[in-house]
């Protein structure tokens, strides 16, 4: 009964002291608002990171060798270096043991690593082709001559490119620059080419060593990949889908690029920037006039226009020049200036020029530095310190549905586990012998269709290339036959693996199953240990943890502040209301009653304003859940697991926030209430001043 009266008095006190109530209330409301919004935000980010990590690489649990030197971190260390997690000997026996646990749905063997591939620059590419042509069984003189003309033209372009700029290029010392000048002049001379055929090997060597490096063009592709059972991987990561090309056929060695990576890192840089600008204009309604980001990309395209003109032969240059002049309505003679003018795009002409690029320019340039069907020469440093190279065919690209734009889910490309083992030096001697034999047998004879020649010869014959000519693909230099291109399923499952993804029926059991796996490993001597996806994700996992920690510290501080304010105001209230409290005590109210009076007052305050704050936060979360928060820049895209973050309101969060509010109320009440309880009924007798 007295509760009702206490509440009444408390509520009226809250309204009576409006100023105090407002100050404390605003702080409380802000704290609750921040808690709801912030947690939804961080949960959105970490949820996105979680699903894009667990559903693209880690699964729910990762297992790896018990005696690993480093902790497993599938994304590598913070500094980008790979981790040494050792290996587990037999996948088959581990899988068999684990599958006895009814919680475990499947186990996918893996090994993650980094690779660096240098597809070479355009001159390297032409030289490699020429080298092959010389080695070919039936040497085609015309073909070789046309290739030579193409190379000579490119050398001239390089010379033109560097003219008067040798000193500016910081990479070259003065002596090197002088030497480079001499070398370029030498290649420009008729004599250099006269005795080319008789001295082909040396000439090609000279061009490759002395001239090719003068294309200052960093072509290195650096990527992470996961070696696995591709068929199992596809099945167990249900979001997996092929975008370009085809799936690696069962039992075949092969490689799949992640489409995100392929489109972002492998594609011709100018084309990629044009794609990005177009996307940003459409998705984010950015304009070239207003967006610094887009302006910078246009600027970069102009600066790197060499990526186009160095790839065009003389006839192509002429054709493109004609069309460009027509498009721009100019009569510019200098192709490079013309190209730069073309690449300086604005909002008015962007779409037209974008279409022009794909229609008229893209067919003559290497649009992707690695193409579907190419063979990648991958190399890795084995544990023994030796470099092993594996040639592996690129079958296509893939992505994970609904994580198309997540850089996190796009981190890994896929290859077969057998090739990974080889890269890692886990080859059996038998296998190695076998490879040597095959290598010796085959030699290097596969050149394929010479598309450059097609382009080139048509240009020497006539000045006009048929406008509707089919885009010609340009083969890269590493078109070699793959060694030991197949493997048996047994070979795959019986062999070693570095780590494996474990999928559970119910992801809320992760902690329990980890414990069970670790116990099983001890009792059955499996030699493995299990970690959660967060642990396996290394710094990514820690990042979500840290974001939550930082947010909680922030919220904690604001709530602590609110708590202190409440405490202070209650203390003042206790002092100001000594007579009132004394009167209540004199009339017969127990100390407990006074305590409750204070407690209800804060409770009322915190629930009311905490509720208002939480409701406002929830409202904003719901709105942002509909509209989405656009990611500005690459970092945000990474954290948002895509270009937009959609918040999701978790109702239990509101309850949690309200519970925290009550706890704050309880804590903040203690001291002032204790002080108030100590107020003597004698205070009632004091004359009012």
């Amino acid at each position: 009964m007295t509760h009702w009266m206490v509440l009444k008095i408390a509520a009226r006190n809250v309204f009576l002291h409006r100023m105090r109530t407002l100050v404390v209330g605003v702080i409380l409301a802000f704290g609750a608002f921040l808690a709801v919004l912030g947690h939804s935000f961080v949960n959105g980010i970490s949820g996105g990171m979680e699903s894009s990590t667990t559903q693209s690489i880690t699964g729910d649990i990762q297992i790896y060798s018990e005696s690993a030197k480093d902790k497993l971190s599938v994304f590598g260390n913070m500094d980008g270096s790979p981790t040494d997690v050792g290996h587990v000997d037999s996948f088959e026996s581990v899988e068999k043991a684990l599958m006895k646990n009814p919680e475990i749905v499947s186990v996918v063997p893996m090994g993650t690593s980094f690779a660096q591939v240098n597809p070479g620059n355009i001159l390297d590419h032409f030289l490699e082709k020429l080298r092959k042509s010389y080695k070919s069984a039936n040497v085609d003189k015309n073909d070789i001559d046309s290739q030579k003309r193409r190379i000579r033209f490119l050398a001239q372009e390089i010379q033109k490119n560097l003219e008067g700029k040798f000193e500016e290029i910081g990479i070259l010392s003065a002596a090197d620059a002088a030497q480079a000048k001499i070398n370029l002049e030498k290649v420009d001379q008729e004599e250099f080419w006269n005795d080319f055929d008789s001295n082909a090997e040396n000439k090609i060597e000279f061009l490759a060593n002395k001239i090719a490096p003068l294309i200052f063009d960093d072509n290195m592709i650096f990527f992470s990949y996961v070696g696995t059972d591709p068929q199992l991987f596809k099945e167990k990561f249900p979001q997996f889908e092929i975008v370009k090309g085809e799936m690696i056929p069962p039992g075949t060695r092969g490689f799949l690029f992640h489409d995100f990576f392929y489109e972002n890192m492998v594609k011709h840089r100018i084309a990629r920037r044009l794609d990005q600008i177009k996307k940003k204009m459409k998705d984010d309604k950015l304009t070239l006039a207003n967006s610094k980001e887009l302006q910078d990309q246009i600027k970069a395209n102009v600066e790197q226009s060499a990526e186009i003109y160095l790839q065009l032969g003389p006839a192509e240059t002429e054709t493109v020049a004609q069309k460009l002049n027509k498009l721009l309505g100019t009569e510019e003679k200098d192709f490079r200036t013309l190209l730069k003018n073309y690449l300086s795009m604005s909002d008015e002409n962007f779409q037209e020029r974008y279409d022009f690029f794909y229609k008229e320019i893209a067919p003559y340039v290497i649009l992707h530095r690695v193409q579907i069907g190419d063979v990648l020469p991958l190399s890795a440093f084995t544990k023994a310190g030796t470099s092993t190279a594996v040639n592996i065919k690129v079958y296509g690209t893939f992505r994970f549905k609904s994580f198309e734009n997540s850089p996190l889910a796009g981190n890994f490309s896929v290859m077969d586990l057998v090739s990974l083992r080889e890269l890692y030096g886990f080859m059996t001697d038998e296998r190695r012998e076998q490879n040597k034999e095959i290598e010796a047998e085959m030699g290097l004879d596969d050149v394929g269709r010479d598309s450059i020649e097609n382009l080139f010869s048509s240009s020497t014959a006539t000045k006009d290339i048929k406008p509707k000519a089919k885009p010609q693909t340009i083969d890269l230099k590493f078109q070699k036959r793959v060694m030991g291109a197949t493997y048996t399923q047994e070979e795959l499952t019986k062999g070693v693996f570095l780590h494996a993804a474990v999928f559970l029926k119910d992801t809320s059991n992760v902690d329990r199953v980890i414990k069970e796996i670790n116990e099983l490993s001890k009792s059955d001597k499996l030699g493995i240990k299990a970690v959660s996806w967060q642990d396996a994700a290394g710094f990514i996992g820690q990042m979500t943890f840290m974001m939550k920690a930082i947010l909680n510290i922030f919220i904690g501080i604001s709530l602590l502040l609110a708590g202190l304010m409440i405490m202070n105001s209650l203390l003042m209230a206790a002092m100001n209301r000594k007579q009132e409290i004394g009167t209540m005590r004199a009339i017969g109210a127990h100390a407990q009653f006074i305590y409750r009076l204070f407690f209800y007052e804060t409770l009322f305050l915190s629930l009311l304003f905490g509720g208002i704050g939480a409701a406002l936060g929830a409202l904003l979360v719901v709105i942002l859940g509909k509209v989405g928060i656009p990611a500005s820049g690459d970092v945000a895209t990474f954290f948002f697991s895509g270009p937009k973050l959609y918040l999701h309101l978790n109702p239990s969060l509101i309850f949690l926030v309200m519970a925290v509010m009550v706890i704050i109320a309880i804590l903040a009440t203690q001291y002032p209430a204790w002080k108030a309880m100590k107020i003597s009924p004698l205070q009632a007798m004091q004359k009012r001043e």
């Binding site: 209540m584 003597s680 009632a684």
Partner: protein, 224 residues
């Protein structure tokens, strides 16, 4: 058995280590239903005596028996209960709870007692409000009432629990003489009808002369 019984009660205060003897051996018995005034100049110890009887303070020595209970042997909680059930207070400065209206203020001690059904309680509250003539102000807040009206609310609050003893320390000091007289008349009337023991202090001669029994205090001693 008298509701109030004091035996050789002394009360000393310490002011900066200097001892002040406020009461110097008080012996006093008050019978049930008496209408008694404690008279004396300012500083003579009136408030001190009332505080001891009202169980809001403790004697330095001697025996204080209120409602048959020796207060010196009671715990803080028991003293509170004694105040709640046996004593009604009327304060010099009315001491109403500012955020509560007249009804709630009068109801307050009944709620603390928690002995009645809400209906019974409400009826009793309204009866006492009617008794002090404030029915039409029942929904008003103290700040909307005059001094005399406030003291009437305080009287209703002190009486609503039907206490054995009503203590009032200079209940008219903050009122003009006409209003003060009205309050005293009301107290006399209630004393006559309800047989409640009234003990109040004053230094106003016109008021003290209306009491049936006057206890004269001077410098901490009874002059009777």
């Amino acid at each position: 058995m008298q509701p109030i019984h004091l035996e050789n009660v002394q009360k000393n205060y310490f002011l900066d280590k200097v001892q002040v003897s406020a009461l110097k051996g008080i012996n006093l018995k008050i019978d049930a239903g008496e209408f008694t005034v404690i008279a004396g100049p300012s500083g003579s110890g009136k408030t001190t005596i009332l505080n001891l009887i009202g169980c809001v303070d403790t004697a330095s020595s001697g025996k204080v028996v209120v409602g048959g209970k020796e207060t010196g042997s009671l715990t803080e909680k028991q003293l509170t209960d004694l105040r709640l059930h046996t004593i009604g207070f009327i304060f010099q400065s009315f001491n109403l709870i500012p955020v509560l209206n007249v009804i709630d203020n009068v109801e307050f001690p009944l709620l603390l007692q928690n002995k009645q059904s809400p209906k019974e309680r409400r009826d009793q509250v309204m009866r006492f409000i009617d008794r002090v003539g404030l029915t039409q102000y029942a929904q008003h807040r103290p700040s909307e009432l005059s001094g005399g009206q406030r003291q009437r609310v305080a009287i209703a609050r002190a009486l609503v629990t039907k206490p054995q003893i009503v203590l009032a320390d200079e209940p008219t000091a903050n009122l003009d003489s006409v209003t003060g007289q009205n309050i005293i008349d009301l107290m006399k009337e209630i004393n006559a009808t309800e047989k409640t023991t009234f003990l109040f202090s004053t230094h106003d001669h016109s008021i003290m002369n209306q009491a049936r029994r006057i206890i004269r205090l001077l410098d901490g001693r009874i002059q009777e």
